[in-house]
């Protein structure tokens, strides 16, 4: 039972962190129309920063690894710095990667940035210990809380779910605000948005930085849970897993991306563990990648709007408030309104 409980709690933590990633990408792509193929590097910098500011200096017990910013900051400072690191990196990359050019070119630039970043961090051992990565990151308040190992697992699950809920409220509030409407306008027709006075350059950078901050936070949460971080954890293809989850579940809809996260990185990527082994070692892993790609393509072909599509905000005379807060009327109240109007 203990092993199962441990497994389930681990899955729940991963689920919550993947949901954060999906929220970030959904805000950027579903609402802002930016195809961020470099998403994973923002999670990675969050993880590296959270790790190195909690590990202490890279001397003494940590002399076996080298990394920047060695410090022993107390909880929750590493998470805050991870969030800031994601935001700052997004600001730097966004300022050249999101210049006015075709969206496919932007996507290509961001993918290339992701590849270069991975190569540089893997090769240069002075940054974050090269391809071996950093290890030995302690769990936040791990020694302070009088909890059993399993008890701590559950606390961490609750902690990540609480952060997920807070981030959900934030991104939802932002996306139904006038700012969110400007974002959707930019996504649908950039030139028309400009001609209405919307500064799309600033808007794009803002949504990129907010997404980067969420990614950094997710990286911090992840490294504090697993205790180590290396380039093996953030290959460019990891971005595609979250993007697939978003497309399958329904980009532009926060419930949709949660469903997609449950289906793709959790259910689909965990199922092979329960299959009897077949083929040569590593075959199942490789097939997973193949199927992820196929799922993405299939979802684009069969149901491009995803399982749960974008909600249409309905307006009737008198319910402006609801629409302005992004609430669409339920079918029931819609029928009632129509009946009342008919009378």
């Amino acid at each position: 039972m203990g092993a199962w409980e441990f497994y389930i709690t681990t899955l729940l933590v991963y689920f919550a962190i993947d949901v954060l990633s999906a929220y970030s990408l959904n805000l950027q792509f579903g609402f802002g129309g930016i195809i961020n193929l470099s998403y994973i590097i923002f999670q990675a910098i969050g993880a590296y920063v959270a790790a190195s500011v909690s590990l202490g200096p890279d001397t003494g017990a940590n002399a076996f690894q080298t990394y920047l910013f060695g410090a022993s900051l107390p909880f929750p400072l590493p998470l805050i710095l991870a969030t800031l690191a994601g935001a700052v990196l997004a600001l730097v990359i966004g300022s050249f990667g999101l210049r006015r050019m075709r969206k496919d070119y932007q996507a290509a630039v961001l993918l290339i940035v992701s590849l270069i970043a991975w190569q540089v961090v893997s090769s240069d051992t002075h940054l974050f210990n090269g391809s071996n990565g950093v290890t030995g990151v302690g769990r936040p308040l791990g020694t302070t809380l009088p909890l059993s190992s399993l008890g701590y697992q559950w606390i961490y699950v609750v902690w990540t779910l609480v952060i997920c809920a807070v981030v959900y409220l934030l991104v939802r509030w932002l996306s139904v605000s006038p700012w969110g409407r400007a974002l959707r306008a930019m996504r649908d027709q950039e030139d028309a948005a400009i001609s209405l006075g919307i500064n799309v350059t600033a808007l794009r950078l803002q949504v990129f930085v907010i997404g980067g901050a969420i990614a950094g936070l997710s990286g911090g949460l992840l490294v504090e849970y697993i205790g180590a971080w290396s380039p093996g954890a953030w290959g460019y293809a990891e971005t595609f897993v979250i993007l697939t989850a978003m497309f399958v579940g329904g980009n532009r809809n926060y419930k949709g991306v949660v469903l997609g996260t449950l289906l793709v990185p959790i259910l689909f990527l965990e199922l092979p563990r329960f299959l009897p082994p077949f083929g040569y070692p590593g075959l199942i892993d490789s097939l997973e990648w193949v199927v992820i790609g196929l799922m993405w393509m299939a979802s684009l072909l069969i149901r491009p709007q995803g399982i749960i599509p974008e909600k249409r905000n309905l307006v009737y005379a008198g319910n402006f408030d609801g629409v302005l807060r992004g609430r669409s009327m339920s079918k029931l109240s819609l029928r009632r309104t129509q009946k009342a109007e008919a009378k």
């Binding site: 409407r181 959707r184 649908d188 948005a193 001609s195 209405l196 974008e310 302005l324």
Partner: protein
């Protein structure tokens, strides 16, 4: 065709023909180059408040480029553009829009995955209400102005008889309705001047007359219009004055009836 003929035969009425005489937009020797090609070559004209100016000319005359240089989509290599006396030549398109210089495009540019109502509200929020700082730091103020904007959007839908499609995605509308959405969207921002690039493209013939009527009403409210349009009956019905371009140069600037008898204009059109 029948509708177009009706338009052509209709008496031309111009209630606010000369507006209050105040110059809203002034183009001075505007030059636009695409590489080695001079698309607009030293064009100058003024537009007064409440005045509609037709910009016509044969294909390739530089009309759309001229419009783009006024709107800020094409960079002027020479000359200057003044809006209400302020030099906007160096300002980017979104800054000109904030000053009241709005434009529509040749192909419809509705926000397709937003409802008609949302299209209007988005425009009404303008740049101030939609900024991140305003959303974060001025929430109460925003929510008040949101309600006011929503009310205005509904009035706009009523005025243009579009309330029945308030909840339709803009991409589901007909060509004429999409044009109206674009125009209503511009009006939501309380513009000084509208730049309309072939607004009748894609509009069903029986709706052209209605759309022209709507544009005339907008003009009569004191909003200036510059319209690039191939359908000359539309230009005749709407415009107080017509600027004719050929090979990037302005060859005439006069009321429609004088233009049609102008020899140079006839030559430009007939080759």
């Amino acid at each position: 065709m029948i509708e177009s003929e009706k338009l052509a035969d209709a008496p031309v009425e111009r209630t606010a023909s000369d507006g209050d005489g105040r110059v809203v937009l002034s183009a001075r020797d505007v030059v636009v180059r695409y590489g080695g090609v001079v698309a607009v070559d030293g064009v100058s004209f003024d537009v007064k408040a409440g005045e509609a100016v037709g910009l016509i000319g044969p294909n390739g005359a530089g009309k759309s480029t001229m419009l783009a240089s006024l709107g800020g989509q094409a960079k002027a290599a020479g000359g200057s553009i003044l809006l209400d006396g302020r030099d906007v030549t160096k300002l980017s398109a979104y800054r000109r829009a904030r000053l009241g210089l709005l434009r529509t495009f040749q192909s419809t540019s509705e926000f397709g995955d937003m409802t008609t109502f949302e299209n209007l509200v988005t425009a009404g929020n303008g740049f101030k209400g939609a900024s991140l700082t305003s959303v974060v730091f001025h929430r109460k103020e925003n929510s008040r102005s949101d309600r006011e904007i929503a009310g205005r959007a509904w009035e706009m839908l009523e005025r243009f008889d579009m309330t029945h499609v308030a909840n339709a995605y803009a991409k589901e509308l007909s060509g004429g309705q999409r044009r109206l959405v674009e125009i209503m969207r511009c009006l939501m921002t309380s513009p000084k001047l509208l730049l309309l690039d072939e607004p009748m493209v894609g509009v069903a013939p029986h709706l052209v007359e209605k759309l022209v009527g709507d544009l005339c009403a907008i003009r009569d409210e004191g909003i200036s219009i510059i319209i690039v349009e191939h359908a000359l009956e539309v230009v005749r019905a709407l415009s107080n004055r017509v600027v004719v371009m050929s090979f990037g140069k302005k060859i005439a600037d006069a009321p429609y009836d004088e233009i049609v008898n102008n020899r140079e204009v006839q030559d430009a059109y007939l080759g």
